[in-house]
Point group: C2
Chain length 119, copies 2
DNA sequence: CAGGATCCAATGCGATACTG
DNA sequence: CAGTATCGCATTGGATCCTG
């Protein structure tokens, strides 16, 4: 049985909320090539604070999208890796960001045109 | 020149923000089959209030994703339709919602498993 | 290195009521 | 029918400082 995004009570909405958050998408893309450490992610994803990155990673771990592996070393080392589920999400995510990167100019232009016109 | 979603100053981020909002995705899906009137959209998209739906539609119009056409009739009639740009966004959006509807159970299960375990 | 703790600002969103 | 106006809260996310 599939979900139904149009039903306000369907948990599919929860997924869309997650995808809609500011950083999950970039985390998925960053991990698509293999496991990464916390600071690697932080550097790769411009503008994210450690607090928010941690929150994002914890939520995604809870949702079964990635795993968190702590190595018993000094200095500490923690690696994040996509699960098969998270990896499968990578494809539609990539489609969205591809669209965004390709059409960003058209949107910005439309916005300028709209804002420039009176009324 | 394409955008770069990893650059915090790239407007691509603005697009991701739009896609991430609670209702735009459902509006795109609702209009994929052709133009719809305001109340049709409102009924189709469960749980949205008129104020928020209007906001969403206005923003999407500004971004060049849809057009708003007012008919000079009584009672009033307003139709919303996707532009070619909005239509092109429909495909990656559909990919995301397909993923969500297909994997919602896996995510909910992962969440339950995670929350059920101590620590 | 990988975070936790705390405080705070923005704002998205909802409820309700009203209108040309 | 297709909105607008007002109010207010809950959530999200950012700045900053601290630590095992």
């Amino acid at each position: 049985m599939r979900g139904d995004a149009f039903d306000p009570d369907c948990p599919t909405r929860l997924i869309l909320d997650r995808i809609g958050d500011k950083w999950s998408v970039l985390v998925v893309l960053s991990l698509a090539g293999g496991p990464r450490r916390f600071t690697e992610l932080r550097r790769r994803i411009g503008g994210v604070t450690p607090k928010v990155l941690t929150q994002t990673l914890r939520t995604m771990e809870r949702d079964g999208l990635l795993t968190r592996h702590v190595f018993a070393e000094v200095p500490p080392r923690v690696e994040y890796a996509l699960t098969p589920l998270g990896l499968s999400l990578g494809r539609p995510i990539q489609a969205i960001t591809d669209w965004a990167e390709e059409h960003v100019e058209a949107v910005v232009a439309a916005r300028a045109r709209h804002d420039g016109l009176p009324g």
